[in-house]
Symmetry: C2
Subunit: 334 residues, 2 copies
């Protein structure tokens, strides 16, 4: 039998209203003695107020929804950790969902969030367009923070982005400054905005030094190990020449390393490589991967911070937070 506020009220010989004041820490409206007495009874009885009953009247559930594409994708665990840590600190629970880049699934999750009356949602969308979600959430007064991906003119209440263009730029720039002229670019799926941004950064760095952009060594992967491996094997088989590789994520970079190794090409002596993400694995492979660090944990924290401000009606100083990349030089570069 669950024990309710009415039970506590009866046991303490007061009204429900008084008990309510106590469990909500209302400073006034209840004498010291009654408060202490009620507190004691609550403790002894192990009473815990029901958030669902409370939620029905306050319209707050102290829970937030987070949609990512796939927690098994190495970039996300830290991001999720960042969100969870911050949310927990402020008393919020986190609903976690994996969209698998499937817009239908994503919509389903947004609907579930609405039905469950989450206080806010954080979305690392698989769609390049969040206006649809924004509008439906808006109509229910649920704030939306988008992470990581987006397009100009998109709609949301706040965002945390990573400066992808700059990230690619500093990597390519490093390579260019080392004297490389033939730098393979292994892109993510071209349909993604971030892929375009990173390509921009790559091109910027080359153009700055008047290096011709060779379309033949700009190839498309899918962020998986195998695509990095295969693209490099293909280039090698076609006899394309190159002395450096910039891959749009670490997994593809590692695939590239393996491809090179299988052809007895030495890294970094013959080919230098830089990846993107700074995933855990990159420290454990050999040679250790140089990469562009994406502060995933920080992104999670900042996202949660933005969202909770929005939920609690506080002003957010800047709607769009842009996180800076950092180049982590290890052993695949000289």
């Amino acid at each position: 039998m669950k024990i309710t506020i009415a039970d506590i009220a009866r046991m303490a010989n007061v009204s429900k209203a008084t008990v309510s004041r106590v469990i909500n820490n209302k400073p006034e409206g209840v004498s010291k003695e009654t408060r202490e007495n009620i507190l004691r009874i609550i403790k002894e009885s192990g009473f815990q107020p029901s958030m669902v009953a409370r939620g029905l009247v306050t319209k707050k559930t102290k829970s937030i929804g987070l949609i990512i594409t796939d927690i098994a994708n190495s970039f996300y665990p830290l991001l999720v950790r960042g969100v969870e840590d911050y949310a927990n600190k402020y008393g919020y629970s986190l609903f976690l969902c994996n969209s698998d880049n499937n817009p239908e699934k994503e919509k389903g999750y947004i609907n579930a969030f609405i039905e469950k009356s989450v206080d806010g949602v954080i979305l690392s969308s698989s769609m390049n367009e969040t206006s649809f979600h924004y509008n439906i959430l808006k109509s229910k007064n649920i704030p939306l923070v988008v992470l990581d991906r987006c397009v100009e003119g998109d709609q949301y209440d706040a965002s945390v982005f990573f400066d992808n263009t700059k990230g690619a730029y500093i990597a390519a720039n490093y390579l260019v400054n080392r004297g490389h002229k033939k730098i393979v670019f292994i892109s993510g799926p071209k349909s993604l905005i971030i892929s375009r941004h990173r390509l921009d950064g790559y091109c910027m760095a080359l153009e700055e030094k008047n290096i011709e952009i060779d379309e033949d060594i700009i190839v498309e992967g899918d962020f998986q190990f195998d695509s990095g491996y295969n693209r490099i094997i293909e280039l090698l088989d076609k006899g394309k020449e190159f002395t450096a590789i910039f891959a749009c994520n670490d997994l593809m970079a590692i695939g590239a390393i393996m491809a090179l190794k299988s052809r007895n090409i030495e890294v970094p002596k013959q080919v230098e490589i830089i990846g993107f993400d700074n995933v855990d694995i990159s420290r454990y492979i050999e040679p250790q991967l140089s990469t562009v660090g994406q502060p995933a944990y920080e992104m999670g924290v900042e996202g949660a911070k933005q969202l909770i401000k929005l939920i609690e009606g506080k002003k957010i100083s800047n709607k769009d937070i842009i996180l800076k990349p950092n180049l982590v030089l290890r052993e695949t570069t000289i």
Copy 2:
């Protein structure tokens, strides 16, 4: 303005009860026309029933709580994915929490789950003892499924375990059959039950072949990369002889490989190594790590399956599911 069941009732010229019947798909009690009419109005108005109001009366929230130690720990993402996939299929949302092996944090999360009236909880506990949680959850009628870790005599409604003893046994047995007599055992924290189980498996394999157990080469790590690295360096510095290593997780095994490499000891030619977990990384390092596969995704799925059966009052055929290990032989063994 949120639209409620009362609004729909008014618009359809029926009572709330009728609308309720429709949104809950009650087969009888409403004529075809009224049903269709109500459905149409619901669609047009974009009405979505509030789970919190519903939860107040039904005592079901269609959400479950999951506590793991740390999502950033490479074993968990797949586990979580398994839970989420299965839960989602049955309409449940998942609260994710990271306990960091901190019993106080764990209790805090359990309390939050109770306040939020989750329908059930899945726990991969940091404590070797779940009775405390079990009792408090029991009193609120919330089923508990424990994963991965436990001790005999512990209390829970169902469990999914991995046969750790057998896992360690098949690894050690493989090594023993290859002729090794000096096999280093890198344990996890000794305070953990799984560490003891794995040590048991290791000892069983050696004893079966009458190989003496040398306490000097049984060392304790903390599941982190560095501990694997350091323990091996220490053994090397002490001049201990060994020809194989069995590490209680992949990260420590990889640390061991790196330690060996730093001393120019060849793997697997001079020392063979087997890890535990079959984490993603193990395929990307060189040489690729041989390891004992823990079916993390399957564990998540089975856990969710057990829990949902419990929640929905279905009989569970066996309270304790034991998942079998599989030896994944790659390049650190011959």
